[in-house]
Every structure is written in structure tokens, then in C-alpha cells.
Amino acid sequence: MRIYNRYILIVTLVLLLSTLVLIAMGQTSLSTYYIVYILEALVITELYIHFNAKARRGLSSIGAILFGGFLFVICVELVHMLA
């Protein structure tokens, strides 16, 4: 399944590269790392429209879980800012 391997390789490389960039920028907030990872994973998944239906459904569920985490982090950050 070449398409699966390509997708996994791209997600892994992008996540690792963004980690290196954030480290180089001196980022110390874990929330920022998480938000960047989620956005990248969601965008790459959306670009892979040729997955079979079962894989697309599975990845949509994962996307929903990760997006839930993203909203949670945003809410926590907002509470911190308001407090």
C-alpha cells in the first residue's frame, strides 16, 4: 500500500521538521507545539483524497478526536489569558 506509506512518511517528516523549527525559534509552550501538529496532520489528511472509503472514515474520526484536543487547548489558553 504505497499511498499509506507515502502519507505516513509525509506526516512524520512534517511533524519532525516543525518540531525542529519550533525548537530553533525557542518555543517553550507545549500548547503551541500541539496546535501546530494538529493543523499539519489535518491539512495533510485532507490532501489525501484518494484513500479508500474505510481509511477516509477512520482518519476522519482521528481528525475529530485531534480537533477536540485542539479546541480544548484553545479554551485552556483563553482561560489563562482572561485570568
Binding site: 500500500m1 506526516v11 507545539y33 500541539y34
Partner: protein, 248 residues
């Protein structure tokens, strides 16, 4: 017990899940290293993706699929060879076969194939005209079954056909990277990038085309809702070219 029987994606996912679950809290709460905690989160995200994809891998191994394919092709080749058929197959859409798209071969190659306007009966030997020699074989090919894997019937435009073929070859069958389609009046040119499905060279290959060309022809016949023949097919480097003619 089900997890122990899984493929490399699931094993890798389980490995990353374990590593991520251990690394993230230790790095965040004990070592106070944000970057290492972030890498732990990376591992958890990748593990979720791998575990999900691992559940969608077909349970039948590729070797078993190849065996089934070869058996079917060998049987068809024996039948075609025994009957001495030399004509090229015409791929008919499902509207002309009362079911799924199928390949039609006239038994007598000296008679010109008339335009088939009404649906043929679902039989092996079918009569398609009024003449005594207007008899042919209606056979299911790899393409006939591949079309049923598509979620919806593709449209006739080159973009729709290209999307359906890429989805089929890359996303569902995993036998090529992508396709490029160009339609010019009654001719369709398809470019298949990095195919890794071997083509036969026997008699049945001459009649039906190779497996990739057969799939392309069946999908095109269904998309255009008209009979289609394979004009030419050739491998050139890492690309496979298929040229089709759409009949009236």
C-alpha cells in the same frame, strides 16, 4: 487476541503509542523538557494514524490475490485460445450488459461489429445481431470487478475519469501512483505512473488488453456509457500508456 494478528502498521502504531505514553509525561513533569514532550505528542498522533490505517488493510495477502488473478486469467486465455478467437474485445458499459461492465468478443472476426444499442442478455454466448455469424462471448474481466469498487459512477470528463482511475489504482488497489487522462473527441489517452502490476503477453492479453488497460477500458466505458476498445497500450519507463477509442 485480534491485535496480535495484525500487520506492520498496527505493530508500529502500538510501539509508538507505548513510547509516546511514556516519553510525554516523563519529559514534561520530571525532566521539564518541552521539546521532548512535544516529540512524545508527535508519537501519539502518529500512533493513532497508524492504528487506524492498520485496521483498513485488506486481510487477504497480495500473494493470494495474485494467485486468484493468475488462475482467472489462465482460464480465460485457455478458453479464448481454444476457440481460436483473434478479435479484440469491446468493453461494454453496464447499461448494455444488464449488470456490470463486461468485455464482448465476436466469435467471427471477419464480420464488422455493429453498434450494440440494446442490452445483451447475461450469458456467456450472446447473439448481438440478426446474421447467423453475429454471435460473441460476453465475459467478465478484471475491469468489470474493479468498477464495482468505485463509490460512484464517474462522469465522462477527463477530470472525473482521472479522479476515478487515480482513486482506484492508488487508493483502493494500490497498483500505481497516479493517472493522467486526456480526452480528445472519441479518443482517450491515459498515462499511469509507476505501475507495479505485471502484464501478460499471451493470447488473452491480445484480446482483452493487460490488467491495467482492462480496468481503464471498463471504467471509461462506464463513464461514457458507450462501448470502448483498447487501441494501444505500452510501457515506457515508469509510465504505462493506454489509448482507448469510444465507439458509437
Amino acid at each position: 487476541m485480534g491485535l496480535l494478528n495484525k500487520n506492520p502498521y498496527t505493530w508500529m502504531g502500538l510501539g509508538l503509542l507505548t513510547a509516546g505514553t511514556l516519553v510525554s509525561p516523563v519529559a514534561y513533569f520530571i525532566l521539564d523538557l518541552t521539546w521532548l514532550s512535544a516529540l512524545g505528542i508527535c508519537m501519539l498522533i502518529l500512533s493513532l494514524i497508524l492504528l487506524t490505517l492498520g485496521r483498513t488493510i485488506p486481510k487477504l495477502p497480495p500473494e493470494a490475490c495474485g494467485l486468484l488473478l493468475e488462475t482467472g486469467v489462465d482460464n480465460m486465455a485457455a478458453l479464448i485460445e481454444e476457440l481460436g478467437i483473434r478479435a479484440k474485445a469491446t468493453y461494454l458499459p453496464s447499461s448494455l450488459t444488464n449488470g456490470r461492465p463486461q468485455a464482448f468478443i465476436p466469435l467471427h472476426s471477419n464480420t464488422a461489429l455493429p453498434s450494440i444499442t440494446t442490452a445483451l442478455p447475461q450469458r456467456l454466448i450472446v447473439r448481438y445481431g440478426s446474421g447467423p455469424d453475429d454471435v460473441g462471448l460476453l465475459l467478465s474481466t478484471i475491469g468489470s470487478n474493479a468498477v464495482s469498487l468505485l463509490e460512484s459512477k464517474p462522469g465522462p470528463s477527463s477530470i472525473e475519469l482521472e479522479s476515478a482511475l487515480t482513486s482506484l489504482f492508488s487508493g483502493i488497489l494500490g497498483v500505481a501512483d497516479r493517472t493522467v487522462v486526456a480526452c480528445n473527441e472519441n479518443h482517450i489517452k491515459v498515462e499511469i505512473h509507476n505501475p507495479h502490476l505485471e502484464n501478460g503477453t499471451g493470447w488473452s492479453h491480445h484480446c482483452f488488453g493487460g490488467p491495467l488497460a482492462s480496468v481503464v477500458a471498463a471504467v471509461a466505458a462506464e463513464a461514457w456509457d458507450r462501448p470502448v476498445t483498447i487501441e494501444q497500450e505500452e510501457q515506457n519507463g515508469s509510465k504505462y500508456f493506454v489509448e482507448l477509442e469510444v465507439k458509437e
